[in-house]
Amino acid sequence: MSLFKTRDWWSARCQEETFDQGCLCVANIDNSPNGHDKVLIGSFAGVLRAYLPRPGKGEGFKPEDLLMEVQLNSPILQLQAGRFVSGTEALHLAVLHPRKVAVYGISLVSGAVEHGSHYQLNMMYEHNLQRTACNMAYGPFGGVKGKDFLCIQSMDGTLSIFEQESFAFSRFLPGFLLPGPLKYITRTDSFVTVSALRQVESYKYQVLAVATDSSSKEESQKISSGKRVTIDWSLNIGEQAVDITFVSFPQAPPSILVLGEHSLFCVKETGQLRFMKKLEYNPCAFLPFAATQDGVINTIICTHTSQLLVYGDVTLKWAAQLQHVPVAVRVATFPELKGVIATLSEDGHLSCSYLGTDPAMFIAPAPESRDINYDEQDQEMEEMKKRIAQASQKGDILPQKKSEDELTITASVPPSLDPVTKATNPEIQDESVPSITAELTLKSKMQVENVHLTVRGYGTLGSTQTTFKFSYLDPSSPPVFPVSFYLQGTYPPASLTAEVSASYNIPTGAPRTVQTTVSLPLSLVCRPCMPVKNAAYKVTIDTNKPPVNLNELFPDLAGDYEGSSGFALGFELIGGPVITVLASKTSQKYRVQCDQFDALWLVVKELVDRLTRHHKRRGSSDFRCSFVGGLPLQEYFEIIDAHFELRSQTEHLKKVLQQRASQFRSIQRRLLTRFKDKTPAPLQNLDALLEGTYRQILAVGEACEENTRSLRRAGNAVSAATRLMNTLVRLSFGMSDREFAVLEASLTPQVDDDSEIGWEEIVDAAITHLLRTCLAKSAKDTVTNPPALGIAKDTGKLKKHLSLLVDRLSKGGSLAMEGVPGLDVKESDSKPVAVKAKTSPRNHPDPIMEQNMEPGEVPVGSKLGEQKNRKLAPVSPRNGGGGLKPLGESSLPPLGGKGSLGSLPPLGGKKLNDGLNDLSKDSVPDLDDLPMPPTHKPRNDIQWEEEV
């Protein structure tokens, strides 16, 4: 919006007619001696009008301002005033019709009074055109004196030259596609146009004239062939042109100005660019009109946003708002005023205006309200106040979802699996994968439309159908449809849930979404088996109630081994290891053990859930689970390391693949140059090299894919292990739901391996944040700036931070994130605990391990201790730990066949009890005898802390 506006000086309106670029002509067409301009317009409806604006005599348009109005027989494309008639230098009007050009003389017959004078339009001559015309240029072609000739460009790119009353010749423009604007340049005697090649092209008149076809002696308009005309010069401007003008003002160098669709170009008459101006709007018309300063050409540019801009070369000198979007603009001189801007819009608004110089900044305030009804106003005020008070009482300012808008998804999961599995395409081929069929019901209180339902199982869980579509839902008959879930991948997922989300439109058209989570039973991914006596990883859950018979707890998973005492149960995960749950006979403890750390998660969760439910059913509300002993950080770190290793491997493989690919391309390039060479050179085994590289690329690509599969699996393991860790942390420190939510948000179980920034970096950043805010030990911690999130080089930092996190939590740190960060941290608690904590950093009940890790021996902080601990930490769990085996698929006992289980002593009745007791005695200290490790600080952490 401009600050200035153009001021209407005079205007006229022609409704219902259409005008274009060439339809406006300002000239002293009746050759009146005072030299004042008349404004001529010709419309596509064929009406030719001449006006003499005389606003001095009153307001606006008056009937006598119209000098002449004539209805011609065909549309008017362009009007041009010039010396078109032989024998006189008086101005005549050339009118271009599609198939005709006519030259008229306009003469005044003056009367005694204003309304008595009238104008006569006399046709001097006309030429019929063989081709449909587009536009025309005029001028003294060939340097002729005192005359103007016409050059008409047709739609097919033919230039026809008319030397006044006689036809001269026609020529084709080379490489023609669409006609562009055309102008004649007197100084160089040539025509310029902008061709469809988006370049300014110049053709010498002499070249056009002599390029005659030698065979035909007589020139005619009906040519069908001709010599190729050579271009004088061309200049690529890269866009189509709106208009071209040639100017030669005395103060400025002669220039060709080209208005492109987004730029203004100024070109010397010899084809060199003088300057260009990028325009930030779409121009619709332009006119270079004067050179008021030395060497600076003033140009008017009108835009499609109805602005009129005045440039001096490339500098904006003025801008004003027009009332219409013009198709043509001219500057005219009238008796009363020089320099009037005449604009013509497409729909026939002809206006002569001048530039306003009052900025339109002032906005009139509404006048004092007339006759206020004070009582009414007071009432309204009260009403409004009440409403505001009501609204501000409600704390929640978000728009509330109306309950009737809502669609509800209910999923009912039956307790038992499908009798016949409905799994389709599971990746495990050699054994049958069970499935469970849940029934999804969509209920809504009103008719909703465009319901899209998506079902997505977590991780490796698949479903028989993933999307459902309903064009509308009838509230009276809610649809019920079954969806079967099953294990699709080769390993169990980290969570036994499926997400069902629906998007829909309520009748007003507003979109809504709704989401629900379906929990699936453990039996979907595991089956009962014989309990295993020994296992590498163990988790012990302490409770405050007497132990419950496991058969009672897991009635659905007791399987064939029912009848046992209910103190040991085995679960075999499909595609995973065997997990054994043991219940202590005497104490209130349960143990879950397995050879694979992450596989513990599903069963631990199920156990805790079922225990809680069981005791709730019994009516004991004070039931609590807890986890005592050191958290299994080391095992967790191994899983993280394995995952990180695979991620690094992915990066490495990608690099190798890139390198091989570029090698392949360079060999191809060399081969290509050899093949193209006219004198063939020996290939020098390049073909073999190409073949070899190709095979390498394939191999690396396969390795990449394999690696990705492993990475997915490792990611799943990290997710499961993280969930397990989170649960254990919660149980150890008795966290509230809110704190647990914070923990779960930071130590997130969501593992996304597709982005560059992986789980390790995200978790590290989140934990660093926790350590800096609510778990900060001193004010110093809180002020340091967090580092930028980048790809981690190793997992050392993450492990350090994780240990620190656990340590701070163990010392009573709280994850209260509300209010001022760190407010809830008790200063006394965060003091370092005595260094002489006499426990291993992990909950490893192995006596050998205990010995190896004897921390009392080493003075903390000494170099020796640091080295020793460093050495011990990674080694001991693998080799020193009695029951531990190195982690890795190859070293795991075969799980697939039941045969391997057969070698275990049969469990049953009394024997199992004995067995369990044996177990306790052998490798595991009796659960009851387990030392209660005090909350302690792992050794490693002490040193890390000093490093920090």
């Binding site: 009937p63 119209l66 009074v113 500057v331």
Partner: protein, 340 residues
């Protein structure tokens, strides 16, 4: 006779007019009536009624009848739809009308308070367009393209009553021989030698038609209204009896036309017209007329360019090479531009 000269309805913008001026004049027809229209510019927050006639738009407040506007179509420069801020509707699409009357520009913004109804826009824009394209019914025209193939180009509602040959136009010393066409809407004369020398005078713009003595002898003297330029046209018809006859005919048609003028704005209602009784009940005008001429300053709210009533006269600027509005004292063109 002189009453017709006072046709101001379509050529004026008036504020807070007395009820008598809100009544339809003869020939003026109420085309559409919209009951929930806000005058967003001058009376934001006030519910009002907009009446669209074939000559003008009338808006008045629902609560106070004397708060009103009358906007003639002839003053309208542009009509557009834009987003405006209404007290009653908030951000909404509104009808913007820019007018110019006595060299002062006024801007009007009307908002329809019925959500989603385009009737405001369609009615006003369509009627204004019909008005614009029927100017020949109402405006005097000189040197127009009236004649085609030696025949008068008739307007849609026009009928030729009489054609009189041998009419001399006395506007030049030697006179021009031409032809009269007397129709139900206007009087047309054109020169036999030059089709583009002609004049078309609608009865609407006729001030008087008389027989007077001139230097050419007895002549038909036609005075046109002030708003059409106040021309005096003289025609001579021989013999005198024929002249008297023609004058009488024109006078009587003029009289009939004055009673029931044809403004030429044609329209078709797409919706069913409102029942007659509803229309007749519309405005309960007070009989008492409060004389408060000259006191109202309501127009101040409608200025299109702030508080500026009139543009200053144009002058040629050597600096730009174009005509500009004369600068206020102490201002320079470059100073004004560089402040921006």
């Amino acid at each position: 006779m002189a009453a017709l000269d006072a046709l101001w309805e379509d050529r004026d913008v008036r504020f807070d007019v007395p009820p008598v001026q809100m009544r339809m004049r003869p020939g003026e027809i109420l085309i559409d009536r919209l009951d929930s229209i806000e005058d967003t510019k001058g009376n934001n927050g006030d519910r009002g009624r907009l009446m669209v006639t074939n000559l003008r738009m009338i808006w008045h407040s629902q609560s106070l009848l004397r708060v009103n506007l009358s906007v003639g179509y002839n003053t309208i420069i542009t009509i557009s739809t834009r987003t405006a801020n209404s007290k009653l509707r908030g951000q909404t699409e509104a009808l913007y009308i820019l007018t110019k009357c006595n060299n002062t520009r006024f801007e009007f913004i009307f908002t329809n308070l019925v959500p989603g109804s385009p009737r405001l826009f369609t009615s006003v824009i369509a009627v204004h367009r019909a008005y614009e394209t029927s100017k020949m019914y109402r405006d005097l025209k000189l040197r127009g393209a009236l004649i085609q193939n030696k025949q008068l180009r008739l307007l849609p509602q026009e009928q030729v009553f009489n054609k009189v040959n041998g009419v001399w136009n006395l506007s030049s010393d030697q006179g021009n021989l031409g032809t009269f066409y007397i129709t139900n809407i206007r009087l047309v004369w054109h020169a036999n030698m030059n089709d583009s020398f002609n004049v078309s005078v609608p009865y609407l713009q006729m001030r008087s038609v008389k027989v007077r003595d001139s230097k050419f002898g007895l002549a038909l003297v036609l005075e046109t209204s002030q708003q059409s330029g106040g021309y005096v046209l003289g025609f001579r018809i021989d013999p005198t009896e024929k002249l008297q006859e023609v004058v009488k005919e024109i006078q009587s048609i003029h009289k009939v036309f004055s009673e029931n003028p044809i403004f030429g704005v044609e329209f078709e209602l797409e919706e069913k017209p409102q029942p007659l009784e509803e229309v007749t009940q519309v405005v309960q005008f007070d009989d008492v007329e409060i004389e408060n001429e000259g006191q109202t300053d309501a127009f101040a709210a409608y200025f299109a360019d702030g508080d500026k009533q009139k543009d200053r006269e144009p002058v040629y600027s050597e600096e730009l090479g174009l005509a500009i509005e004369k600068l206020k004292d102490g201002f320079t063109l470059s100073g004004l531009w560089e402040v921006m």
